[in-house]
């Protein structure tokens, strides 16, 4: 059985090894950039965490308990994240993967299939939460000057938590699929997860956690301590992990409580046994059930009525693509459900500004309010960039394998890209302008400053959206099974860097005129020749930059899509351009012919 288990893991292992050997067109550059970005993110997370932990610890009288609670909360939230992530992954891995019919038809033990899938599911659901929590745990060790035992026990403590979360989710999945159809289970759970996350995010913010580091805002010590209550239970593995590691942060070896480590591993083992029993009795039965359809879904109704608004678009091709995208967006729960997150983001954004009380500082209020109203353009720009990355960027890849329909139609690539841009620009622009206008009102900004912020947002947003669509065309992933993963790739990284730099440039260019205006308005300075020359020049530079941001990515995206090769899934660059001699071998029918120099996956012996 173990041999079978290893064989069943081979495709995933070999795919990973092959990716490392040949990461594809521009793969090395991509891998290096991603590695640099990840390291930078880890470093930032580590430094930020060290700073936060130190500031918490420095709160006189409460530092210790505050730090302990934070450490405990980290374990609880990490485990909750792992349970949710493992649930979604296990569902796909056990019941919805495309290769399952092939495996089920093979003469292998079904329990081997289950354990192979379980292993893959544990790895793919946990690597991301673990890798992002690691710098935070290391920061705790660094900030508290922990001894080597803390670092040595981090992995032995974290691994059983990961395994427990995964086995718990797997057991739940097996039980649920036997009650609900797998396809509906995924929809229900992912929707619940999303609503839960949005609700949690809002509740967390509305509780105003910033007050925790300001004990003066509480009337009594009891009130402060009550506000620090977090759910803890002596029966939870996260409590054991916290209580195992927390004393070691002090650096004393004598505080090592072996019993918690034993409990952690015992719980992981027990849950593995439960999961194994559930698989033995219910997996095959549930798998058969999951092969039934999710029920027929009909088109029509309200969506068709609302789609009528696109009749205003005169170009019939662009209208056709817009209507199609609109219907697909609202019929796919993985897409429309993101609107809830967007709603939560907007509410919190506006709430943050509504609770700012700048009138507390009467002398600086004018400068603070208006400077913030100006800097808010940058923040709104970040929101627009996030929305463009979330929605506009993957809109090209959303065509999927059906892209041949557009490609073989008379619609030009330029019209196709422009159609996608206009489709997403309207809602993103509406969000950006609403946020700018309402924030300026909350801040009580001067009319001139409010108008400047509004105009800058009006200039910036189209460029950011165009950058999203343009880079989405330059780095399309038509073969993706999950559209939500498209922005997390290399193209998404380039977008984040480019949009942040563009925002910085535009804010930087506009800053001097804004400061001058505020000083003149307060009578601290006069409008002179320098202002007369520089302000129009800087305004022109901002206009030029916005124009460039609008034009350039679209052109780049159009050119890239025109040479996109469906057979290889790569850009069909001229022969001199590829990264390596082997890079442009086709993968489709023509590629099946034995091409010279084609790398052999796995390095196995060639055909004689």
């Amino acid at each position: 059985m173990f041999r079978e288990y290893l064989t069943l893991l081979a495709p995933a292992r070999l795919s990973f090894v092959n990716y490392l050997r040949d990461p594809g067109q521009g793969g090395r550059v991509k891998t290096i950039s991603l590695a640099v970005f990840t390291l930078a993110l880890w470093a930032a997370l580590f430094l930020l965490s060290v700073r936060m932990i130190r500031s918490y610890y420095s709160v006189e009288g409460f530092g210790d308990i505050l730090s302990y609670k934070t450490f405990s909360l980290l374990w609880i939230s990490g485990a909750a994240l792992l349970v949710f992530s493992a649930f979604i992954t296990a569902l796909s891995s056990f019941y919805l993967s495309r290769d399952l019919p092939l495996l089920m038809a093979a003469p292998v033990d079904r329990e081997s299939v289950f354990w192979a899938r379980s292993t893959q599911s544990v790895i793919s659901s946990s690597w991301m939460p673990v890798s992002f929590l690691l710098p935070v745990f290391l920061a705790f060790g660094y900030a508290f000057r922990a001894g080597p035992l803390y670092y040595a026990l981090l992995a032995p403590a974290a691994l059983p938590v990961v395994l427990s979360a995964s086995f718990l989710s797997q057991t739940l999945v097996i039980l649920l699929v036997n009650v609900l159809p797998a396809r509906r289970t995924r929809d229900i759970v992912s929707l619940l997860g999303l609503f839960g996350f949005a609700a949690l995010y809002m509740v967390f913010r509305l509780l105003r956690p910033e007050q925790l580091v300001n004990p003066e805002s509480f009337r009594s010590v009891a009130g402060y301590l009550a506000s620090l209550q977090t759910p803890t239970s002596p029966m939870l593995p996260t409590t054991w992990a916290t209580d195992l590691l927390w004393p070691l942060l002090g650096g004393s070896r004598g505080d090592f409580r072996e019993v918690y480590l034993a409990l952690l591993w015992a719980m992981a083992g027990a849950l593995a046994v439960v999961s194994s029993y559930a698989a033995h009795f219910l997996y095959w039965q549930g798998y058969n059930k999951s092969q039934e359809g999710a029920g027929r879904q009909k088109a029509g109704g309200l969506l068709n009525l609302v789609a009528g608004v696109f009749r205003l678009v005169k170009n019939p091709e662009m209208r056709a693509v817009a209507v199609k995208d609109f219907k697909i967006f609202f019929r796919d729960h993985t897409q429309w459900s993101q609107l809830f997150l967007l709603g939560a983001l907007m509410i919190i954004y506006l709430y943050n500004f509504s609770v700012l009380n700048l009138k507390r500082y009467p002398l600086q209020a004018f400068f603070l309010e208006n400077t913030l109203a100006f800097l808010n353009v940058g923040l709104v720009g970040l929101v627009s960039a996030t929305l463009s990355l979330r929605f506009a960027f993957p809109s090209i890849s959303a065509e999927g394998f059906s892209y041949w329909i557009i490609r073989s139609s008379p619609m030009s690539t330029g019209d196709f890209i422009r159609g996608k841009l206009l489709f997403w620009l309207a809602p993103i622009m509406a969000v950006a302008l609403t946020l700018t206008w309402l924030t300026s009102r909350f801040l009580d900004a001067a009319p001139m400053m409010a108008a400047t912020a509004f105009a800058l947002t009006l200039l910036l947003t189209p460029g950011l959206c165009a950058l999203g669509v343009g880079l989405g065309s330059r780095f399309p992933r038509f073969d993706t099974e999950n559209l939500a993963q498209v922005p997390t790739g290399y193209g998404g990284l380039i977008f984040m860097v480019s949009s942040s730099l563009s925002l910085l440039c535009i804010i930087g260019l506009s800053a001097w005129p804004v400061v001058r205006y505020l000083r003149i308005r307060r009578g601290m300075s006069q409008f002179g020749l320098k202002e007369g020359i520089l302000i129009p020049l800087l305004a022109l530079s901002v206009l030029a930059l916005a124009w460039l941001l609008w034009r350039r990515p679209l052109k780049m995206g159009r050119e890239a899509l025109e040479i996109y090769d469906e057979e290889t899934g790569r850009l069909d660059l001229p022969e001199e351009a590829p990264d390596s001699p082997e890079d442009l071998e086709p993968a489709g029918e023509a590629g099946a012919a034995p091409g010279p120099g084609r790398p052999r996956a796995g390095g196995g012996p060639g055909r004689p």
């Binding site: 879904q297 088109a299 029509g300 209507v323 490609r407 008379p410 040479i563 022969e575 590629g591 012919a593």
Partner: protein, 262 residues
């Protein structure tokens, strides 16, 4: 109607299609035969405008596909071998989308969509999302979409994949009617000899990216080395260096190498 002049498609050192020239006049059904990996699908995708050739010219109805893609594609209907469609649209919505894409007008588009859904026996399924369709139904819907703009050129990759015998017969009749009655040039890629034999006016055999033979079935038979050989013999003769391998690793004639030496 379709004209390929010295078309080459290279992937670095490997030529998927090499210096291919051929012409398909209006009203003709041209069968494009070849083994797996010979370059059929690459050629078909280039003719459909889904892939750009490395060199050479493709003209559809006199329009150069690389210079006037809009004009060339507006007279083209393309049926790929795999039925990838927008799963979250209904069959009806997909056809109306196609009508708008080809700018044929809403009223005409709706009339034609209804007609084609009836013809391909999908009318009762018109409001169902495509994700609920079977493979064969999706294939039929793609065909309906390709015929909707009344193309003057039809490019088809492996037309019978996923179709039941009734569907296959229907499709063959439609292609014949389109060619004979409406003068449509039909360019079909297949590796099914019987289909080519029954349907096509002329046949081109492609091997390793180059055209190895071309003509009517009769002309090709005459070219065959084997006396009295049929299309299949000619195909095997042109597309392989040696005889067919058989299970166990031997050649059809000699059995397993070395077996007789023991």
């Amino acid at each position: 109607m379709i004209r390929l002049e010295h078309v080459t498609k290279s992937y670095r050192r490997h030529k998927a299609v090499s210096d291919l020239s051929l012409a398909v006049p209006a009203g003709e059904i041209y069968g494009f035969l070849g083994p797996n990996g010979a370059g059929k699908t690459t050629t078909i995708r280039m003719v459909a405008g889904a892939l750009a050739p490395t060199s050479g010219t493709i003209r559809l109805g006199g329009h150069d596909l690389s210079r006037k893609p809009r004009e060339a594609k507006s007279i083209l209907g393309y049926i790929p071998d795999r039925p990838f469609l927008y799963e979250k649209l209904s069959g009806w919505e997909f056809l109306i989308f196609t009508a708008d894409l080809y700018k044929i007008g809403r009223a005409r588009g709706e009339a034609k969509a209804g007609e084609l859904l009836e013809l391909f026996e999908l009318w009762d399924w018109r409001d169902e999302l495509i994700e609920n369709y079977s493979h064969g139904m999706k294939q039929r819907l793609i065909m309906a979409g390709a015929l909707l703009p009344s193309p003057r050129i039809l490019v088809v990759d492996e037309p019978m994949v996923g179709l039941d015998p009734r569907g296959a017969k229907l499709v063959m009749d439609i292609f014949k009617t389109m060619a004979r009655r409406d003068g449509v040039a039909v360019f079909i890629s297949t590796h099914t000899m019987s289909l080519a034999s029954r349907l096509c006016d002329r046949i081109g055999i492609i091997s390793r990216g180059a055209l190895a033979a071309e003509g009517t079935e009769e002309e090709l038979r005459r070219q065959s080395k084997a006396e009295g050989g049929d299309l299949e013999d000619l195909f095997l003769d042109l597309t392989s260096d040696s005889g067919l391998p058989v299970l166990g690793g031997g050649s059809p004639e000699g059995g397993r190498p070395g077996a007789g030496e023991a």
